[in-house]
Structures are given as structure tokens and as C-alpha cells.
């Protein structure tokens, strides 16, 4: 018990910055789902089981369109493809964590990843339990936010029409953050350009699969120039 409490005490301060963000976004997500006619149980269970913020927002629009689970699965793979690479970087970190390992893998959102790849458990604190509590605390904030949002959504003193825009704003902010972090923007242009073009040529409910294919093909074709720029950018 002492081992766990020590790890919890060491993990908590690292998660404080995430708490504010997750509660805010989680509440926005819960309100968003509530405004689409979903009882608070939905955002609560979805935030618990999916636990991948962007994809949870996208799932709300999937639920509002035609039933197509294969499409939902493929879209999730694409949107969450980055987790593959988080996993690759965490292969060593999670080694030897025993029974906690499946949960660490299950709960590895962007934020937990960013803490765990930049922070080591302090001296005398169990590494596995430290990782466990970072992951668990972050998930608790997110689920709490989504549940609160789902509960209060129906009682807000103003009209919720347009709350959907919280998803657009979220992606615009992530896009900007990524843009500012890079010198070369070819991959971002590929994503925007290929998607916009496919939206022109395909119906709006069908454009995303061709867009994903175009993005993969273009990134593969452009691999040499992009890799060269990435390397150049890192040394510059």
C-alpha cells in the first residue's frame, strides 16, 4: 500500500496541468453529446472505453450518420495512427510493469504519453505504479469532465446550438500548434489539400476514405523530399 501511495503522491503533480485541460474539454465534450440527444451515460462510457479525445468527438458525428462500423473502424485507425508510434517509444518504458502493463497501453492518450516520455519516477518510487497513476489520474479527469458535461448540458441557461464548433476549434488549435512546432509544412499541406480536394469530388459523407488513401499515397510518394526536409530541419 505504501508503494502505491508513494507513487500516487509522485505522479499527481505531473498531472495537474492536464487536469484543467481535460476537465474543460471533457465538459465541452459531454455538453456536445448531450446537445445531440445522448444521455450522460454515453459520454461517460465513451470517455472511459475509447479514451482518445479527438476520436470521441468524431464518434459523435459518426453516430449521427449512416451505420457503417467498418468505416468507423478504419477512420479510427487513421485518426489514432499516432498511438502506434507512442507505443513504439514506450516499448522499453512499459517493460517489466507486469499486470499493470495492459492498462498502461490501454490508457495511453497524448497527454499521458507526453508526461511519461519526458518524466522518470523519482528515486525510491516504483516505476510501474508511477506510470499507472499518471495514466489513471488523467483518465479520471477526462471521464469526470465528460460526465459533468453530460449532466449539466441540459440545464444550461443558454441555447446550445453551435456547440459542435468546439470540435472544429480543437482541431484548429492542434493544427496551429503542430504548424508552429515545424519548419516545413508539407505533411500538413498534404493533409489539408488532399482532404479539401476529395471533399470537392466526393459526397461529404463519403470523402474521408478517399482522402485517407490520397494522404497515404502522397506521403509515400513524397517520402524522399519530406525526409530530407525533416532531417534538415532537425540539424538547422
Amino acid at each position: 500500500m505504501n508503494v502505491k501511495r508513494k507513487a500516487l503522491r509522485a505522479a499527481f503533480p505531473h498531472t495537474i496541468p492536464i487536469m484543467a485541460g481535460f476537465l474543460f474539454l471533457g465538459i465541452a465534450y459531454g455538453i456536445f453529446m448531450q446537445s445531440k440527444g445522448f444521455f450522460f451515460i454515453w459520454p461517460m462510457l465513451m470517455s472511459m472505453t475509447i479514451f482518445a479525445g479527438s476520436m470521441e468527438f468524431v464518434t459523435v458525428s459518426l453516430l449521427a450518420s449512416a451505420f457503417n462500423p467498418l468505416y468507423a473502424y478504419l477512420l479510427t485507425l487513421m485518426v489514432n495512427a499516432r498511438h502506434l508510434f507512442y507505443g513504439i517509444s514506450m516499448l522499453d518504458t512499459f517493460r517489466g510493469t507486469g499486470r499493470k502493463k495492459p492498462y498502461l497501453i490501454f490508457g495511453m492518450c497524448d497527454e499521458s504519453f507526453s508526461i511519461l516520455c519526458s518524466t522518470k519516477a523519482p528515486e525510491g518510487v516504483d516505476h510501474g505504479w508511477f506510470c499507472f497513476f499518471v495514466t489513471l489520474l488523467n483518465q479520471c479527469y477526462w471521464v469526470a469532465g465528460a460526465t459533468i458535461g453530460g449532466l449539466i448540458g441540459g440545464f444550461l441557461p443558454f441555447e446550445l446550438e453551435g456547440i459542435d464548433f468546439v470540435m472544429t476549434a480543437l482541431f484548429v488549435v492542434i493544427f496551429l500548434e503542430q504548424w508552429l512546432s515545424q519548419k516545413h509544412h508539407l505533411p500538413a499541406w498534404v493533409g489539408l489539400g488532399a482532404s479539401a480536394l476529395c471533399l470537392v469530388f466526393f459526397r461529404s459523407d463519403q470523402f474521408i476514405l478517399p482522402a485517407m488513401a490520397c494522404i497515404l499515397i502522397l506521403l509515400t510518394v513524397l517520402r524522399k523530399p519530406i525526409s530530407r526536409k525533416l532531417e534538415g530541419g532537425e540539424t538547422a
Binding site: A20, F24, A28, F38, M46, I50, F51, S54, M55, V58, T59, L63, A64, F67, P69, Y73, L74, T76, L77, M78, N80, A81, R82, H83, F85, G87, I88, I105, F106, E161, G162, I163, F165, V166, M167, T168, A169, L170, V172, V173, F175, L176, E177, Q178, P187, A188, V190, G191, L192, G193, A194, S195, L199, S204, M212, I215, L219, R223, S227, L230
Partner: protein, 109 residues
């Protein structure tokens, strides 16, 4: 909700399965830290940038730019979000500000 309860549950399950695939696959494929293929490493570096571009377009997929209001509320909302973000660099302020402006625009005008 346009789907039946069963369809909605299956859809959420597909998303959960997709997310779990992306999270567990590396640990299944590279059990003892086998070398990751260079192409996969490359995709890992560039795909996140392209996918967020895709998601921004995805959010705007049902906006009609050829009929009134010509997507002006969306474009203004994005402009406010981006401007706030470049100014304050605070995710919460940018998202809240852009969303409130958008909600006011479509509810009042």
C-alpha cells in the same frame, strides 16, 4: 440519434476496437524491441500533421460555401480561434473564444 441503440453500441465498439488496435499493435509486433521498419517510423513522424489537416476539413464537410451564409460563421469562428491562439497560446482560451463567437453568430444573426 439516427441509429438504433444496437447500431450505436456497435459503432462505439468499432471505435474502441480501432483505438485499441493502434495502442496494442506495437507491443504485439515488437515484443522485445525489434527494429521498427524505416517506412513505419517515417509515417509515424508525418502522419499526425496530415491527419489533423484532414480532421479540420472533416469538421467543415457539411458547410455550404456556395449558398448563404457561405460558411462565414465557420470561417470567422476559425479566424477568432486562430487569432486568440497566436496571441495567447492558451488552448482553453482559443477554443472557448472561437466556439462562443460561432454560437453567437449562428444564434443571433
Amino acid at each position: 440519434m439516427t441509429m438504433t441503440l444496437t447500431q450505436a453500441v456497435i459503432t462505439v465498439a468499432a471505435v474502441v476496437l480501432g483505438t485499441m488496435t493502434t495502442r496494442f499493435l506495437p507491443f504485439i509486433l515488437f515484443p522485445e524491441g525489434r527494429k521498427t521498419p524505416a517506412y513505419i517510423q517515417y509515417l509515424g513522424k508525418v502522419l499526425p500533421f496530415a491527419v489533423i489537416g484532414l480532421l479540420v476539413v472533416y469538421c467543415l464537410k457539411d458547410v455550404s460555401f456556395l449558398t448563404a451564409p457561405f460558411g462565414i460563421p465557420e470561417l470567422l469562428g476559425i479566424a477568432v480561434t486562430a487569432a486568440l491562439h497566436l496571441w495567447k497560446r492558451n488552448m482553453l482560451i482559443s477554443i472557448a473564444g472561437g466556439t462562443v463567437i460561432y454560437m453567437v453568430l449562428i444564434q443571433v444573426i
